[in-house]
Subunit: 320 residues, 2 copies
């Protein structure tokens, strides 16, 4: 961990950017740091936050209106890359690295090999927001900045449920909550809430799901005509495969949706016994042991037959 | 808060009981305290835990097999009533209070007016498990006992999302997690997992839900024939109304299911703007501002018309 005061000493213009297609931790860490710098370093001429976009639901955070979603030509004395595993993830903001006086990289992705002049990379941390908190002085942290960091931590831990959550994560979240904001409402608005259509399509996927392999595998498939009927996009399908995976007795969940004629996007989730990244890799995709994905051609039956063959093989192997 | 050592000094036989229809906090607090006493006070002849039943999903906790689901005649030197707002909630275990040498009441329900010889009642606490932790010496707490208390806290806070979660809650949960158990798996197994049939019926309820009042009210109704078709019980319907309430823009969610001909059990949830306990009270039920319920007679249309009339009135009043 570096000393923030020391690293930005003498700087006049600060730039902050996160990764493309920003998620809760990306928005939370960028906004949290940005607000903190603006509030506590009056000598700074500019603290700019650049993000490709700000998803509507995150707009409940104070300060999101100051986030710049374009990339005008600018030179920064210090430039922060947050929550980006590599320079490519910065998208257009990567340009700022070339002219910045100093680049500081704060991240928690295990794939991050380190870039920039100063690095604070901790793969064991729950989130980049957790790391940002460690750089700041809690006594000088405003409610708005605390809210942003809390949201970042909550999103990357699935609201404190994933294994990446540690004792330190819980303690930091507790301190942030104590600043005094309605965290229950914030979680509802940014994490739990689904649109009516998202709930409709989830309902459809659940209702049409089927159990295979003595209940160890659950599958659900949505056709393009159904997606068109509800008028939903791929983002509206987030979370469906996780809900399927959380079925009692299920080891592997498969969720597919048709993207074109005889083409399916496949999401795989596992409880850990089956390595779904091996299955996805076989079909040209990738991922992790518990979460992977690929794109497959053929009829829905071909796709499911091919997938289940590989899953069954692993389940049988694991049973030996 | 009392001193546990002091209060059980000289006791030989300890009894512990929680409320009827035990939930996560009830099982977690009883088991957590029971295991701790057994492990740290070898001079005790008996530490009995009495619960009406142990729901199957909680059986993943070590020690649940020692929970006594019957109520043989026994006399305890010290008897703990945990998570019970009043004596009636103890069910058959209330008998033990009459003969116990000392009754200790630990609870977090605001409705608890206090009973027993020694009381530790803190309505602001997230859970009884959080209060039990405060009575124990962390250094002497085993992994199994920590796991039980963590589960209790997690369940009563909806996994750290509800407003009852405080900084202390987060810190205690963090310390318990550090004892070293797979909290992610524990949460999946006891909190998030649904059976295939529960997901089917949830899917059905979501798919058939409708928005009213410009999207401020969402309703879903299930007929007895549908419940019979899936073979689900009322317990399988838990959580449906909360999922409905978490729809973007919705102020009030109404979920009903038919229990007999022309009879419906009604669950109401609100984001706080509408006081659903007022609606439920009007129809002979009760609850809180954000969660209430009642039983109503008539056709599904009668029931919905009557309910929505009262909700609309409040929404219009609130709009003035």
């Amino acid at each position: 961990m570096f000393d923030l005061d020391q690293e930005i000493k003498g700087a006049k213009r600060i730039g902050i950017a996160g990764h493309i297609r920003p998620d809760g931790d990306c928005v939370g860490s960028c906004l949290g740091l940005g607000l903190y710098l603006r509030e506590n370093y009056p000598e700074l001429e500019a603290v700019d936050i650049h993000l490709e976009s700000v998803p509507e639901k995150f707009r409940v955070l104070e300060g999101t209106e100051t986030i710049c979603t374009s990339y005008p030509e600018k030179t920064y004395d210090v430039f922060f890359s947050l929550d980006c595993g590599d320079i490519g993830r910065l998208g257009n903001a990567a340009e700022y690295l070339k002219t910045a006086g100093k680049v500081i990289c704060v991240d928690h992705h295990i794939s991050n090999h380190g870039f920039g002049d100063v690095q604070f990379i901790e793969p064991a941390a729950s989130s980049t927001s957790e790391l940002i908190y460690l750089l700041l002085d809690d006594a000088e942290l405003s409610v708005s900045a605390a809210k942003a960091l809390y949201m970042g931590i909550a999103h990357d831990t699935g609201v404190f449920q994933y294994s990446c959550t540690g004792r330190r994560t819980m303690e930091i979240a507790g301190k942030l909550m104590e600043k005094g904001f309605d965290f229950n409402e914030l979680l509802d608005q940014t994490f739990f809430q689904k649109t009516y259509l998202q709930n409709q399509i989830l309902g459809r996927a659940l209702l049409e799901s089927m159990l295979l392999m003595d209940g160890k595998c659950i599958i659900s498939a949505l056709r393009k005509k159904d997606l068109d009927f509800y008028g939903v996009t791929s983002e509206d399908l987030d979370g469906i495969v996780s809900q399927l995976r959380n079925t009692t007795g299920v080891e592997v969940a498969i969720f597919l949706y048709e993207t074109a004629i005889q083409e399916f996007k496949v999401s795989l989730r596992s409880n850990g016994r089956v390595d779904v990244s091996r299955v996805a890799s076989y079909f040209g995709g990738g991922g992790h042991v518990r979460a992977a994905g690929c794109t497959m051609q053929g009829s829905v039956y071909d796709v499911l037959n091919n997938l289940t063959l590989h899953i069954e093989k692993q389940l049988k192997g694991a049973d030996l």
